[in-house]
Subunit: 205 residues, 2 copies
């Protein structure tokens, strides 16, 4: 990485930290200048506009999400082990190192009614995430960990809803039971995706 890129990456890391704390809408070049001690004009030269800064902060965070959640999960065996790895990695993503929750969860609620480049970037990123979850479900069906007629998009929808429920219980409600509740919901979801009892019973000799 060149010096300029390193500087940019370091600035974007602070930008995402600010965004996760006060909301992506609260991330501005002026505010970033105050928090980093860098000059406003220098930051303008780097990013051009508030919106471009917000989009680049999202992209930097998406790259980190891939490094911390997606790639490690792909190292697990396909099927249910990979889905469990995804789940564990996502939990670590939200919980690790004084992290203030997940920027994508927060920004989605914030920008869902604000058309523009930020919303577009968020939507594309999350379409990829949904596709990845659905693909993981499909693969679990191929591996015969899940039933063959699994609705993989429904699986992705329900798993994502549980993660949002956890994020809310953990970050907003400070519910000490949040993780235990999420785990229980997750196991129930996996159970419902496995081969139905009747089917295995029927196949038994």
């Amino acid at each position: 990485m060149k010096k300029g890129e390193q500087t940019r990456a370091a600035i974007l890391e602070q930008a995402t930290e600010i965004a996760t704390r006060v909301g992506l809408g609260g991330l501005s070049i002026g505010g970033l200048a105050t928090e980093t001690g860098l000059s406003k004009s220098g930051l303008f030269a780097h990013f051009g506009s508030k919106e471009a800064l917000q989009v680049q902060a999202l992209e930097a965070e998406a790259a980190r999400f891939i490094d911390h959640v997606v790639r490690p999960a792909l190292k697990a065996e396909p099927g249910e082990p990979r889905i469990r790895a995804l789940f564990d990695r996502w939990l670590r993503w939200v919980n690790t190192g004084g992290k203030k929750g997940c920027l994508f969860v927060q920004s989605s609620a914030e920008f869902d009614d604000q058309p523009g480049a930020v919303r577009d970037a968020l939507r594309v990123q999350q379409e990829r995430w949904f596709a990845f979850l659905a693909e993981a479900g499909k693969r679990a069906a191929t591996e015969a960990h899940f039933r063959s007629d699994l609705d993989a998009d429904q699986f992705a929808f329900e798993l994502h809803g549980q993660l949002l429920g956890f994020h809310h219980a953990h970050r907003m409600m400070r519910d000490p039971q949040a993780q235990a509740r999420l785990t229980q919901a997750f196991e129930r979801l996996l159970d419902s995706c496995r081969i139905p009892k009747e089917a295995t019973d029927g196949a038994a000799p």
Copy 2:
């Protein structure tokens, strides 16, 4: 309702509309003055501060939520019918009349890391909502619609997660399948609350 109260209620209705569109954090006395055409000094006299305006907008919205979701559901028979009424009313709450999503969902993601009166108000309001959902689950167990060993708080957690998943799919992703997916997830949750644990775990003959 006195004239002053009517004025206040009308202003708060516009305030919640703005908050649902741009985020509660984006609701300010100055912005409200611009949108309503009322004087900033008059609005200051009404509300005193931005934070007080935000809290009062939340309280006004909570009162509407009770009128549109909670009270109608309480008219349904206790147990599963009441839970279905709650579910239907919540969906209408999010979908009706060009509504821009649910202010509580949006504001929770926005304020979960911003300590203060707004966050406190949100948390108390949503603790009541969770308690109401759990109580509805417990009552369904009493009515023998749900199994007697139901974990009502888990039921509330999972139902709420599904509503958040729907809100995200509908508002952020503009997924035309969002409501169908939510309904399927909801029916699966009800099924899991009905079927006694022994029946699903029961050893095959």
